[in-house]
């Protein structure tokens, strides 16, 4: 029994885990990173557009067009005492600051990527790994041309060979990430369109999202 368990554990650690980390998780996380870099504002904008109204409109009496009774109730509540507000802001920064700044954008990005569907993700992972495979064969080709040498040689020349490989493969990888992210957004918009109760003009969102990417 321990033999079977140890073999199963060895199979998981030697065969399955590297596949999960290198083949599957790495491309997906890079796409999530691309989404964080380009798309954190896009997501919040999208959330606002999906709601179809600004945040203040959801608080009774907060807008200029609210009913008189709601406005009076809103004023009667008034702001909290200064000490309470200070303590609340400190608590928010201490406990929820990182969540807002780091984890929520990352979580949203990962959710955006993972909800793109298995076929898209499978194709993306495949093409991403094709780029890595091409890089591997490029390295093998360089090894074949240069031949085996001692460590001192590689310490001196490895950065040059890495530069050659990166110059050829990295632009492809970055383009793939950009295209895949764009496709993720398209899929997101398509899903919003078919969802009941979605906003009326879904096609008009994408240019706005694209402009948010470039910061315009």
């Amino acid at each position: 029994m321990p033999e079977i368990v140890s073999r199963a554990w060895a199979f998981v650690t030697d065969q399955i885990w590297p596949v999960i980390v290198d083949v599957l998780a790495q491309p997906l996380l890079w796409l999530a990173v691309a989404a964080v870099v380009f798309g954190s504002r896009v997501l919040s904008l999208a959330e606002l557009w999906r709601q179809g109204q600004p945040y203040a409109a959801r608080i009774p009496g907060a807008t200029a067009f609210a009913r008189y009774r709601d406005k009076r109730a809103f004023r009667r509540i008034g702001p909290a005492p200064r000490g309470v507000r200070l303590a609340a802001s400190r608590v928010q920064v201490a406990f929820f600051g990182d969540i807002d700044d780091k984890y929520l954008p990352a979580l949203h990005s990962l959710r955006l990527v993972l909800r793109a569907g298995p076929i898209f993700l499978g194709c993306y992972v495949f093409v991403y790994n094709l780029a890595l495979i091409a890089q591997n064969y490029l390295e093998r080709l360089l090894h074949l041309i240069v031949g085996g040498h001692e460590g001192q040689f590689w310490v001196r020349w490895e950065p040059v060979f890495s530069l050659v490989q990166d110059a050829l493969v990295e632009p492809v990888r970055l383009c793939l990430l950009a295209v895949a992210f764009r496709r993720c957004l398209e899929i997101f918009v398509q899903r919003s369109t078919v969802r009941p109760g979605a906003a009326a003009r879904p096609e008009s969102r994408l240019p706005v999202l694209a402009s948010a990417e470039t910061g315009t």
Partner: protein, 194 residues
């Protein structure tokens, strides 16, 4: 712009297709992985193999169950000893240094018996006996592999010389070893290249 390709709408088909693509990617990555690849330089016994800093040749292979040094028994083996006499010549402008050696038979890797290295200054050649203790039933296809011993290494040359022990003659080698002593010199002999 929308992608013109339309895939089957079945979720199961999508998941299966994704798993297949990930599996193909994993196989491709595994096959193309350049890490751990070695520049194998093959040769045959008796003929020098040219490598970066010089040449290496296997001169003689001896087998036995007793290891002697200056006619004194140094060790006995329940298996068998294989002593490979090699000569390394630094024909280039740099020192030849081969500090690691293994005997390989299919999936079995035998480490050296004691520390042995072949080091020769430029213009010199060094001969040494490299001793291995091996399992007699698993000696078919024994091949000597030698390479430079380095803390940091990259794509490295490795000399690979089969010793000529095949499935057909393995029994003869085993019989030859039984009860036989090998007298080895644990110090290298160095001389100038003529």
């Amino acid at each position: 712009m929308r992608f013109p390709i339309r895939f089957p709408s079945s979720k199961l088909a999508g998941v299966l297709a994704a798993i297949a693509l990930v599996a193909v990617s994993a196989v491709g990555l595994r096959l193309s992985d350049p890490k751990g690849t070695i520049d194998m330089v093959s040769g045959v016994p008796g003929k020098p193999v040219t490598i970066n800093d010089g040449e290496l040749s296997v001169d003689r292979v001896r087998v036995g169950t007793v290891l002697t040094q200056n006619d004194e028994v140094r060790d006995r083996s329940a298996g068998m000893f294989v002593a490979v006499a090699v000569t390394g010549a630094a024909t280039g402008s740099r020192e030849l240094s081969l500090g690691s050696a293994e005997l390989v038979s299919k999936d079995v890797h035998y480490k050296t018996y004691g520390l042995t290295s072949v080091v020769a200054a430029p213009g010199f050649k060094t001969s040494a006996d490299i001793v291995f203790e091996v399992d007699p039933p698993r000696i078919e296809g024994l091949t000597l592999e030698m390479w430079r011993n380095e803390v940091i290494s990259g794509y490295q040359q490795r000399v690979r010389i089969p010793l000529g022990i095949t499935a057909a003659n393995a029994n003869q080698w085993r019989d030859a070893a039984r009860g036989w002593g090998i007298d080895v010199s644990l110090s290298n002999s160095t001389r100038p290249i003529p």
